[in-house]
């Protein structure tokens, strides 16, 4: 090795970006540490203050986090493949809750937790997934496909429009006030070390976890998943390699929609209420989760969603906290802070803007 090469190697290792980038990184690190420390202090204070209640709201937050994960994956899948923030996705979830309610209570008349109730629940799971998946394919086909090469502001505005139309369907279907429904899942709970855990939390975990594993398998192991990743990387190159880009994008929308449908059923069965503007609220929370984890990154979406769910649960339920009425503000403050300090998210790779 010549001396020049050695010098060059040292120089390469020592270069850490422009002064501006270094300063920025330092600010980000400090802000992150300060915020993290504050959150830790808050959590520890609550843990010492009331351990049982802490565990209780932690589990509740974790449950909500799983629901958010199912929705957040729809955002992250679609963003990963066509770089579109699908504003209508939350409203698709809302239609999923309505579809499930009607399927179980109105069309099949199940109101209590028995064998027929369980069978209807699983039938509703498949039906809601098919309904939302199909609806999402239609939305992509008629609203977004034509705009794939248009300036970015155009599909964004269209997505907002689609969101409004889905909300309109929600108003007509559900009415403009929240509605209560009977639940076919068991309403009992069991106690571990003085902490009450509802059975439906366990059921939610048992339904959501296989779905997440299935998705992960589809994306990483199957041929269709490979096509999805290729399309996400470079549409034109994928097309040259013989991948049917339109079909792959439709497939992605179908998966995202199906997960939203499953989330809709689970939400409706655990809370028992539906409302037309649910999609807007939960959709934004789910989107925040996707951004927190690193948008476009599937594991990141799940991690972010669980974190957001837990933070929100702790904030809403703990004695030392801002309380439920500031719930949205807390979540959106997190969104803005991540956007400002770490737009790539927790697990996302920071990318430079393509030219």
């Amino acid at each position: 090795m010549t001396q020049a090469a050695a010098v060059e190697k040292v120089a390469v290792r020592q270069y850490k970006g422009t002064p501006g980038q270094i300063r920025r990184r330092r600010i980000e690190l400090t802000a992150g540490l300060v915020l993290g420390a504050l959150v830790m202090v808050w959590i520890v204070a609550n843990l010492i203050n009331s351990p049982t209640q802490f565990a209780q709201v932690f589990i509740l937050g974790f449950r909500n986090g799983l629901l958010y994960a199912l929705i957040a994956l729809g955002y992250t899948l679609v963003y990963g493949i066509i770089e579109l923030i699908n504003f209508a996705h939350g409203d698709l979830f809302m239609l999923g809750t309505l579809f499930s309610s009607y399927f179980i209570t109105v069309w099949f008349g199940q109101e209590t937790s028995n064998l027929a109730g369980w069978l209807t629940f699983f039938a509703a799971l498949i039906a809601a997934m098919a309904f939302c998946g199909g609806l999402n394919i239609l939305i992509e086909r008629f609203a977004y496909r034509r705009l794939r090469r248009a300036p970015k502001i155009a599909p964004l505005i269209t997505a907002v429009g689609v969101s409004f139309i889905l909300q309109f369907i929600g108003i007509k279907w559900n009415g403009s006030t929240p509605r209560n429904w009977p639940k076919v899942l068991p309403q009992s709970e069991f106690t571990v070390l003085g902490v009450h855990i509802a059975w439906n939390t366990v059921i939610l975990l048992l339904v959501a976890a296989p779905l997440l594993l299935l998705l992960s398998w589809v994306v990483t192991k199957t041929r269709q998943g490979k096509a999805m990743r290729a399309t996400a990387q470079d549409q034109d190159a994928a097309r040259l390699m013989g991948i049917d880009v339109n079909r792959t994008i439709s497939f992605t929308f179908a998966i995202g929609g199906a997960l939203a449908g499953a989330a809709g059923l689970l939400y409706q069965q655990t809370t028992g209420t539906t409302n037309y503007n649910l999609g807007f609220q939960l959709g934004l929370i789910a989107f925040t989760s996707a951004v927190l984890g690193g948008i476009g990154n599937l594991n990141g979406a799940v991690l972010g969603a669980v974190l957001i769910g837990i933070i929100q649960g702790l904030n809403d339920g703990l004695p030392i906290g801002l309380g439920q009425k500031w719930s949205q503000t807390v979540v959106f403050t997190i969104l803005i802070l991540i956007m400002v300090f770490k737009p790539a998210g927790l697990l996302g790779k920071s990318t430079t803007e393509k030219v």
Binding site: I157, T158, S163, I165, R247, T329, V340, E353
Partner: protein, 398 residues
Amino acid sequence: MATRAARKAKKAAKQPVSHRTWALGYLAVAAVMFAVYQYALPWEGLPLPIYDFLQLWLPPSSVNEALVYVICALGLNIVVGYAGLLDLGYVAFWAIGGYSAGWFMSNFFEQWKFHGLSSVATTEPGLHINFWLVLVIGGAVCAFFGVVIGAPTLRLKSDYLALVTLGFGEIIPQIFFNGENINGFNLSNGTKGITRLDPIPTGVKDLGPFDFGSKFVVFVLLAAIMVFISLQLRRGRLGRAWLAIREDELAASMMGVPLMRTKLASYAVGAVAGGIGGVAFATHVDGVYAERFNFSISIFLLAMVVLGGMGNVWGVILGAFILAWVNSTGLPALGDTFNSQFGTEVDFPSFTFLLFGLVLILMILFKREGLIPESRLRLVLHEGDADEELKPAHEEEK
């Protein structure tokens, strides 16, 4: 020959913008409307059918409300239409402007007493500042918030920006919504809102909540100022920089346009318009109510800009008038007429969501440049379309 033509073009470009043409047309339309509402409508001799028709289809309050929307839509147009940044939280500025009016023009802060050139009796408690000064204050506060929220976020990609603004547009109204008791301090009176604002002093008479005709003049004047600012900025150095960023950010920065400062300027100017609109709206409804500042307002304004034509002042005014009228008067009036005619019970106002959604989707899909297009934007917005045609035919079949 060519050089002479070029010199001529250069000279034309250097000439100050002529505002005479539009100002005359604007004045004429405003004068006719003012005459109708101030003199014809209260006139005894007006035939009853015409009176009923006007009261049902074009009541004075709906025209004034539409003007408030025009002011805000023109502000949003600077952000969305000129600079090409998608702002989905515009309602935050509207709320801040509204509460500026609520704080500085009412008895709300009973613990303090301050009178700034106000026309109300000096014995009244609370902060009372002259409406025209409050306009300036509201605009300034909004500009401040615009810069605060814009400075860290405008570095982001455009679609991320849309979300941060959306989050901002949710947080601010929620603060006002919950602001009844912040550490014992009543910031916004919560859901009850702040009612009974001071009248607008004009030197001749004070305009209360029901002086629709005179307030129409005030709102027309404010809208005219926004039109003037929009046109003037559009032709100037800043406006050309905005258009350059809208069309190609990278090319613009290569040409020496300071990206951050220019985007921030568009954000701040847009925010000022939102603040002025907020103050005007508060005086229009004679109060500030937290639950009125919801996400739909941001989308209504966006739909107005998109329908009329992004970047075109006259298009935006047209879009704002059409949609504001449909929302406040058109749909309910149509519903009443339809239901009484056919004996049905169709709830027409509930169709607003469908209508605004369809306006956004159909305009973007089929007429992206809006009703009154801006010539330059049409080219930009259809940039990708040529590529589509080059695709093999079997791609399109699927």
